[in-house]
């Protein structure tokens, strides 16, 4: 009987414990938002592999860091971005971050953020502001350096082909006019090539970072120059891949007859390098989410953050593309 009572008491106790567990779990689920960090982020657009990977990285990192993210998107238009930023400022987010679509135009909205006491983080592309204290830090690639890296790679490549004394006719597929990558990558590329008079920029036009536009503009270049183009430098891989299609349609061999250089090092570009249709892709990593969340935490905790955080990146060509290919997720 005593044993039976013991069993009964044990069962009752177990029941109570299960009940207590569910009550505690409910409390945990209900939670409280007090002390949660709210980050407002304004993305440039939803277009392209690079941008989509960047967005995914930010959303995933925010979730992992337990930071509440209010995500907005500017449809590649700076006025939309400013409107979204103003809205986030009005909502009183803890930190405001954005990936700018243009170099200038940000002073007034950043002043609004400063007046509201909201720290600002610039992600990916750089901006020009009259007062650099308007933003706290800039996380992203050095895009002028990316242009320089592309030019340096080209010089080294031509040396291996023993063409360093030849006249080299270069075409450039630019990004959206006035956008930071377009301005900075061009600046860095020309800064190096200007020192070598045998390199002639024969054509340069925006193709807006889009594959189809890259194909269209490159096709136009080839017809205008009667196919006499030695190198095409595209401000991103999507346009470079578009240019490859145009070169093939024109009856030339991309990667052999015309050297193709892109920026970003997306999976498709590495694949094209492995096929021998593309020659080089300068990496510009979109996986900036973890760095952004780390900076957000530091800012909220009042820890000092460096004014500039440059991401570590590599160049990929026939020597290392196959090695990197399996690791590339975007």
């Amino acid at each position: 009987m005593e044993r039976f009572m013991g069993k009964k008491a044990g069962l009752v106790l177990c029941g109570l414990l299960v009940l207590a567990f569910f009550c505690a779990a409910e409390t945990l689920v209900q939670g409280d938002t007090q002390g949660d960090i709210i980050l407002g982020f304004v993305q440039v657009s939803a277009e392209g592999t690079w941008r989509m990977t960047n967005t995914k990285s930010i959303k995933k990192a925010a979730e992992e860091a337990g930071i509440h993210l209010i995500f907005r998107e500017g449809e590649n238009n700076y006025s939309n971005q400013i409107k979204e930023m103003r809205e986030l400022i009005a909502m009183g987010v803890d930190v405001l971050a954005f990936s700018p679509s243009q170099v200038d135009v940000w002073d007034s909205v950043l002043e609004e953020a400063r007046d509201a006491g909201i720290p600002v983080i610039v992600l990916d592309r750089a901006i020009n502001v009259t007062d650099s204290s308007l933003y706290l830090t800039h996380i992203g690639s050095d895009m002028i350096e990316e242009g320089r890296r592309a030019a340096r790679w080209l010089l080294a490549y031509m040396k291996t082909r023993k063409r360093e004394q030849d006249e080299i006719r270069v075409a450039i597929l630019e990004g959206v006019q006035g956008s930071t990558p377009a301005v900075h990558r061009n600046q860095g590329f020309l800064e190096i090539l200007d020192q070598y008079p045998q390199y002639k920029i024969v054509q340069s036009e925006p193709a807006n970072y889009i594959f189809s536009k890259g194909e269209e503009v490159m096709s136009k270049f080839l017809h205008l120059e009667d196919g006499k183009i030695d190198v095409v430098f595209a401000h991103n891989d999507e346009m470079a891949l578009g240019a490859i299609e145009a070169i093939k349609k024109f009856g030339k061999q991309p990667g052999t007859d015309i050297v193709v250089i892109g920026v970003d090092a997306i999976k498709k570009a590495l694949e094209a390098i492995m096929k021998g249709e593309m020659n080089c892709s300068v990496e510009c990593s979109p996986l900036l989410g973890p760095q952004l969340m780390e900076a957000v935490r530091d800012v909220v905790k009042g820890r000092p953050v460096p004014k500039r955080v440059v991401t570590v990146e590599y160049d990929y060509d026939e020597t290392n593309a196959a090695q990197e290919f399996p690791n590339r997720t975007y």
């Binding site: 689920v29 209900q30 939670g31 409280d32 938002t33 007090q34 949660d36 709210i38 509440h68 209010i70 103003r86 809205e87 400022i89 009005a90 909502m91 009183g92 987010v93 509201a116």
Partner: protein
């Protein structure tokens, strides 16, 4: 044998009673939850006319004429502080009644937006005070001159900009109120689904319990007759 059947009958009766009590408790709880959601929706919807009132009050001060009062009004009389206070109180009340994390967060965003609104209202109040002091000193130094009109005009742009900012924040708050109401509707839908499932379960349980009770009653009846015959 009979005592066993009686024991079974007691167990069934107690079981059915407990199930009924639990069902009743859940039903009451569900109704209470519905009432709470409705109350929260009412409270949140009540914020919108207050925001309209705030916009009108600020406009009354900017235009220096309140059509409702039919006279010149100052910032102190506009009652904007009281309106903001009422909005904050409503938000806090709703926030205290909310359990869901996403809804609490939406309330937090609303609270922050109202703080933003209060800050911008203070900016316009300061500008208004500055304007009033400037006008008084000009009136004193250059009585009857054009300086006063020029001074008033110089403030027009600033005032318009500040009012535009207030309107913008009010819009943001209204949008966030709509988002919150959508969350409440989704919550109500979830509660309804839960209630429907619980009800279906209870109906099945009652059916099984009823069948068992009938069988037990029949067995009990047969046992009683058998004993009588013996």
């Amino acid at each position: 044998m009979k005592s066993r059947i009686i024991f079974l009958a007691i167990v069934l009766a107690v079981g059915a009673l407990t199930a009924n009590l639990l069902f009743l408790r859940y039903s009451v709880g569900c109704r209470a939850e519905h009432a709470t959601i409705t109350k929260r929706i009412d409270l949140v919807q009540g914020i919108k006319p207050r925001l309209d009132g705030l916009e009108k009050a600020i406009w009354g001060v900017i235009s220096i004429y309140d059509p409702l009062q039919g006279r010149k009004v100052g910032f102190q009389e506009s009652g904007h502080h009281q309106i903001i206070q009422e909005i904050v109180e409503r938000i806090n009340e709703v926030s205290d009644m909310v359990d869901q994390k996403d809804m609490k967060l939406q309330m937090d965003i609303l609270r922050r937006s109202v703080t933003s609104l209060a800050r911008r209202t203070d900016v316009i109040r300061e500008k208004f005070e500055l304007k009033r002091m400037d006008e008084e000193s000009t009136e004193l130094l250059f009585p009857g001159s054009d300086q006063l009109t020029m001074l008033s005009e110089s403030y027009v742009d600033e005032m318009e900009k500040a009012t535009e900012q207030i309107r913008f924040v009010i819009n943001v708050i209204n949008n966030n109120l709509d988002k919150y109401l959508l969350l409440e509707l989704a919550q109500m839908q979830r509660e309804d689904e839960k209630w429907k499932k619980q009800r279906q379960g209870a109906v099945k349980l009652h059916f099984v319990a009823g069948a068992l009770a009938l069988i037990t009653a029949l067995l009990l009846l047969r046992e009683t007759f058998r004993l009588k015959v013996a």
